[in-house]
Amino acid sequence: MNGRNTRIARWAVFGLLVAALSVVAAGCGGGDDGDAASTEIEGLGSSLDEIKELAKQEGVVNIVQWAGYAQLVKEFAAATGCKVKAKDGASSDDMISLIQTGAYDGVSASGNASVRLMTTGEVAPVNTDFIPNYADVQEGIKTQNYNSLDGQPYGVPHGRGPNYLMFRNDIVPADTDSWNVIWDQDQLDKNKGKISIYDDSIFIADAAVYLKATQPDLGIDNPYELDDDQFNAVVDLLKTQAAAGVNYWPGDVAKQIAEYTNGDSVVGTTWPYQYVQLTAADPPVAVTAIKPKEGTTGWSDTWMIYSKAAHPNCMYLWMDHMISPEAQAAVAEGFGEAPVNLKACELTENQNHCDEYHADDEDWWSDVYYWTTPVADCGDDRGEACKTQEDWEAAWTEIKG
């Protein structure tokens, strides 16, 4: 074999490899749309009894969740034989990426993830006959656009909550009732570099909520439906805030908790979870969390099953478990949210929990704007003039600078 031939052979092999890889890469991974209505998943039992039987063989369920959601996992494992392996998602986008790896059986999706997942067919419609506790879910939360497609449920509602304004009592006045503490320039100057902000493009909506209340001229109605002018105003506001120095917490709640504890952050946006943790710490950190007068963003989450789940039977049982009164009570108090199964209200340690979190008080939720994916269609006479998810993400990278 002479050197020259070897060299040619080498390049030929390399070329073939490259070609083969590109063909395979181009042909795959496009995401399959699937037929939407079928609740069949490969390997799923055809009755609840069969599901329970098959689950014992699966023995494990891999879930993507918001930190703190998986509750009573030991009890669940004892009852069903399914060990729970939970992976915390940092943001809705993060959760979608995780689901797309194909390694997980299900996800606790917020509206800005669930709609996309349903559209791409990455989550499957569910047969609620196999989920006995579904009957107890509040009717007003069933078959909403963020958990169902054409009236067909794609999972079970998990619970809902607001994004709070949280501040340290020793720095920010107790009577604070407005988001202006994180948006107005003179307020920003007071707490430079100590403002805690959720690191995701969905936070753009929080600025929109504030401008909706303070600059009515912009005509913002729904904070997720922003046209050019509105969007530019919102982005400008965010850039002002970023320039004042903020601490981003990219979904890892421990980071924000440590910051409030150590005084690195004193005011910002948070989930109720961190508030619960901070006030329950030993010694407790003196913080206040409120829904300011302008209203706020929030979430109504749904447990969904991956359409090619490796452990579909355990996942079905998990969905049922998460809306059982016991698990609902544990999550509601542990994370700090309103349960969707009101039977949980009798089981919470704090008997007033459901009232405090307004579980059954629709008026209170009227100015809580649930996370959803921004689309071009503004939903009104402006037509297709609104900024999309793509625009929001690109803007977020620029805002952070």
Binding site: G3, L17, I96, G193, E390, K400
Partner: protein, 298 residues
């Protein structure tokens, strides 16, 4: 290339012997037998994967679902070039990597020199262990510990407070400190190895010829140790260039790693296009390092 020649072998010779004869006669075949496995691995696993990633930089995405759409476009590169933020982030990251490298070289040199030329063999052994051990402490644990150390209520400000000083640790400067800390062993070890190889006789010759300590250092030691420093800098530089965990913990500024990580799910093609920046920078760095004989610094 590994096939046994068809020629009739004498019956008393085993397969091993026949192969040996073949390989002896065909050194090229022997070479390619050696190379076949590692080369296939690197080309298929590594370069194949890089190719798949870079290929996706030429694809479009759906504005709503953010899924990759297999439609050819140069938009992703356009975006990287046109949007100032990507340039700012790249430049900020490269600067950080350079400063970290410099700090590491400065911190590493005395201890490496001490280990290589001053310490007794026993002390040297202990020091080698002492320098190697932090590599086992876990990158994450160290990074998170630094978060606590640098925070408002952390050790540093606790120590500075009585003398009326304050250090804003969760900042770019803090991150520089953390990176310097994390990658320091990767600099110390090659520099130590490099210094150790300088023959004593060379330094004695320099002294004999009247070279003062400082002169010996700048004219003899430093030039000889330089390739080793460059070798170490490959690690300090490239590890800084792509990290996203430490920056996210310590600062709110974006770096190349954080941007790629944050947009990977929603805009994989843009992330892929942006990852060309570290690929190009590291490749260039390696080429320069090779020219400076860093690869041979052992």
């Amino acid at each position: 290339m590994t096939s046994v020649p068809v020629a009739e072998p004498p019956p008393q010779e085993g397969l091993g012997r026949r192969l040996s004869t073949f390989f002896f006669r065909h050194p090229r075949a022997r070479l390619w037998t050696l190379l076949a496995l590692p080369l296939t691995w690197l080309v298929v696993v590594y370069f194949g994967s890089l190719f798949v990633l870079l290929l996706s930089s030429l694809w479009d995405t759906d504005p709503f679902t953010r899924q990759v759409v297999h439609k050819f476009t140069l938009e992703n590169f356009q975006r990287i070039i046109d949007t100032p933020v990507y340039r700012d982030v790249a430049w900020r990251t490269i600067k950080m990597a350079a400063f970290v490298t410099i700090a590491d070289a400065v911190l590493a040199f005395p201890i490496a020199y001490y280990m290589a030329r001053v310490a007794s063999p026993r002390t040297r052994n202990l020091l080698v262990i002492a320098v190697l051990m932090p590599l086992w402490a876990g990158y994450l644990v160290k990074a998170y510990a630094w978060r606590t150390i640098l925070s408002e209520g952390g050790v540093i400000n606790w120590a500075l407070d009585p003398i009326g000083l304050h250090f804003d640790g969760l900042s770019t400067v803090g991150l520089w400190l953390v990176f310097t800390y994390l990658w320091l062993p990767y600099m110390i070890l090659p520099v130590y190895a490099g210094l150790e190889r300088i023959p004593d006789s060379l330094l004695e010759a320099s002294a004999d010829l009247g070279g003062r300590s400082l002169k010996t250092f700048t004219r003899v030691i430093l030039p000889l140790a330089f390739p080793a420093i460059v070798a170490g800098s490959i690690f300090t530089f490239s590890l800084t260039l792509g990290d996203y965990i430490a920056p996210g913990l310590i600062t709110s500024e974006q770096f190349i790693g954080t941007v790629i990580y944050n947009i990977r799910g929603e805009a994989l093609p843009t992330a892929a296009a942006f990852s060309l920046v570290p690929i190009v920078v590291v490749t260039a760095y390696l080429l320069v390092a090779r020219k400076l004989r860093a690869f041979e610094s052992l």
